[in-house]
Amino acid sequence: MSDSAQIAPMHSGPATGAAALAPPPPAHPPAPRAPRARKPALRFLTLPGNVISLLVLVVPLLVALYMSFTDWSPTGGSLLEASFVGLENYAELLVYDTRFVEAVGRTLFLAVVCLSLEFTLGLGLAVIFLREFRGKSMLFSAFLTPMMILPVVVGYTFWMLFQSNGPVNQLLGALIGMQNVPEWFRSAPFAMLAVIVTEVWHWTPLFFLILLSGLNAVPENPVRAAMILGASPRQIFFRVVLPMLKPVIVVAFVIRGMEILKLFDEVFMLTRGGPGSSTETISLYIYKLAFNDFQLAYGAAGAFLVLIGTLIVINLMLLPVRDQLVKGKA
């Protein structure tokens, strides 16, 4: 992909010949500016859409932002009457609420562990799928299926699988003769492991799909050139192919990163955040704050902290390929 973008202008041959000497003429003569500015009627037609998105997106966001600066609770009357407490909620969350800070750390831990596993497994599978083998087409469909299943269903299924006398434990007993099979949801490390296994099973296919399409788009000639220069298959993969995949890899991590920072359904179905709060993610904790404890204002502050954190994390992840993606230069 990188190459074609580089070389494409060269193919146009003599027409671009002068470009090196003189500033290139504009590719398209400036078209007569479209009716947008001149016909208010057209703008009017998009008004209903704009109003709706204002009502359902912008207004609630602003209300929630205001709410996060108050001590409002649904049992305490109107939001307008709630007292304004400034940044108190935010300070409380960051300084005193260890459960919140722990949930943030736990979510980040899950993100790092799960994404690393999903990337490694997905890349491995994608590399296998570059070759021809029997049953490839069927396996391809099979491998993609998990990510199409509703998270709630995945969570419920794995909850069943990990029961103390469930299939996972029976397999452990039958295959490796394990005597004291774990009580998955009664021990913090095993509950965490169950969450990780579920999450990795569910979302490895996305990495697989994105990386496979990336690998298939890698131009052939740089690989052949490396081969002729004496590079081993391993060197070719790590030094030539993977760097060319960088934008694709980053995009896969960004998509999955945004998802996993909001992880809720599977954990809710598997452990409800337990035992104790040992598998509680940020989303789950905020949900509990808002809808179990009715601390909506406090929860809203937590949600805004997560939004800010996510914005920072995702933009940091995009940093290495931002130029390439924004300027469209390969």
Binding site: M10, M227, L229, A231
Partner: protein, 362 residues
Amino acid sequence: MTPKLSLRQLSKVYPGSEVAAVDRIDLDVQPGETLALLGSSGCGKSTTLNMIVGLEQPSSGDIQIDGQSIVATPAGKRNVGLVFQDYAVFTSMSVRQNLAFGLSVKGRPKAEIARAVAETAELLGMRDKLDARAQDLGGSELQRVAIGRTLVTRPSLLLLDEPLSNLETAARLAMRRELRRLQKEIGLTIVYVTHDQIEALSLADRIAVMSAGKIRQVEAATRIMDNPAHVFVASFLGDPPMTLIRGKVGGGVFRADGFALPLGDIPEGIVTLGLRPQALRLVAPGEGALTGRLSQVEPRGAEAALTLDCAGKAIRLLVPAQTRPVPGETCGLSIPEGALVAFDGDTNLRLPGAPHVAEAAR
């Protein structure tokens, strides 16, 4: 002298194909020589190149470098360099990393790599570009990097796939000079693959013309235009190429449909007659061996390419622009000594002798 590169009865038949992509070709390239493999697309020249470099295995035959067969040697160990038409520069790396790649994957010491990279950068005039990212370079710079990346590994043979065709005109002329200089400076043996005869004529010492998987002729670049050994070579080289007319010689007269020309020094039977566009002369109607109507005039700066309709045959010729020919005009065509070539009608090979227009018709 042992040839640098020898191809012996080299063939490639792709699985599922009945026609050989490369058909038992023999070729010797001498050390320090520049040879162009010239042919239209699909003639087997790229397949030949890929077999030499090791990207494809020959179906039969042998490839030798310095007298040693390399057919069993894997691509990375043949010590043959290849520069791709699209350069295939590693865009994720800097120029320096690109140049160092071949040595670094072989685990050479850092100091040696640095020295070799510096030397090559100097040779290619890229010293100030070493830290640029490859993705920021333009066409001719990319090509320099691609060539340099190969030269760093000191290949015993350098292969270039259509080296100039991706460059714009100005860069192409500069690169042509550059390649000539490089070749002289380091005395490298180079094999080009190209479909562009100007490129072949200007860069190569010798040209091997290929068609349909076979080498039709190998000849010095300076001589091949005037001495085509095969009908294909005659039809392929030259701009415009020779006019080729297939017909029969009987009783000293060459006939093809309504076209007739009395000839001397030509065997009887089926022949293909070639008329060199540069040698033919336009004369007044009635004079000369043939008379026809000018059907096309294509001005080309200092000269003009004409097409003359003579008894249903379109004959091409080149005249100086001052002649100012007018389309539709009736003209005579003079065919001087040396303007004609004859090929055997069956084998398509050049016939000995110097066919010329018989005295009576001059």
